[in-house]
Amino acid sequence: MDTQDPVASPATIITPPVKAEVITPPTNLRDKVSISANGVNPEMLEKAEQVIASLSPSYLTWVEDDLRRAQALLEKIETCSGDDAKPLLTELFTIVHDIKGQGGSFNYVLMTVVGKYLCRFIEAVQDAPRPSHWPVLRVHVDSLRLIISERMEGDGGATGDRMLRGLAAAITKTIGQIDLN
């Protein structure tokens, strides 16, 4: 027998709204940064961009080192039979993620895009890696190396476009369509 009082049903209890407090933080930040009413000096920004450009030779050294490490990991992965590749894929992801995050800053936008494709692919297969995935890893790492060895700055033009279409096709053929953005 149902003994519940329909009037006092828990479903009828309305929790009062919880109040949030708005706080104006103590700060003297405005006094610490100097900026005129007109905004930012474009010369300063240009100087900052030049500083980034001046680091390009260093970037090439860094990224070549990253690519050597990626290549070494890939060679180990290619000897794996499946799940034993998981920790290596995690390591490879970390390296490629850094490559992705740096390329565009140094006018190697194509490195960022190919790096993004490879990160998305690793994310898609990392729970159940299989040897059929290794060639896709290989073609991406080879593409990254090619971009740097050929100094393909910017988006790589028509060559870059063909490269990206080829990589997307390789991914789709192997594991189906995935979001590469």
């Binding site: 709204p17 919880v18 109040k19 949030a20 407090e21 708005v22 706080i23 104006t24 933080p25 103590p26 700060t27 930040l29 405005r30 006094d31 610490k32 940064v33 100097s34 900026i35 005129s36 009413a37 007109n38 905004g39 930012v40 000096n41 010369e43 300063m44 920004l45 100087k47 900052a48 961009e49 030049q50 500083v51 980034i52 001046s54 680091l55 260093s58 970037y59 860094w62 970390t94 993620h97 850094d98 992705k100 995050g101 740096q102 390329g103 565009g104 800053s105 140094f106 960022t112 990160c119």
Partner: protein
Amino acid sequence: MSDFSLQSTRVLIVDDNPHFRRLLVSVLSSMGCRMIEEATDGADGLKSLTHFPADVALVDWRMAPMDGLDFTRFVRTSPDSPNRYLPILMLSGYTELRLVLDARDAGVHEFIAKPISAKILQSRLQATLQSPRQFVRSPAYFGPDRRRRQVPLKGPERRKAP
């Protein structure tokens, strides 16, 4: 001539990648910043804050042992936090909406997608330093006001400044 300078601003950089730290240090230096402290992960960043009273922190997401999200949560909510109101700008290659919302809910001021440019870094720093955001304290959140746009409320305003 208009001008922007970080000469008197203390900036903490928390990133495990030495190359990215070098990039940030170089760009900040070109903006006049002379007081820069570098840390290699969130725990190292917290240690730095004990002797380096940063005005703003530029923090990567993925780091070990303590990542940028845990760093932000500690700064915002721990009783041992050296400055709960520290402006935190997260710089990350993880740009999926869900992750950006996680960063916002942890209490970051701004989210900057890598790769960065000098212009984006400058504009976000300027916005953060020149227009300090109000903070909100509720049972579930402490951090900068997450409402970025002023939209008319359908009901009464329940949040009142003290």
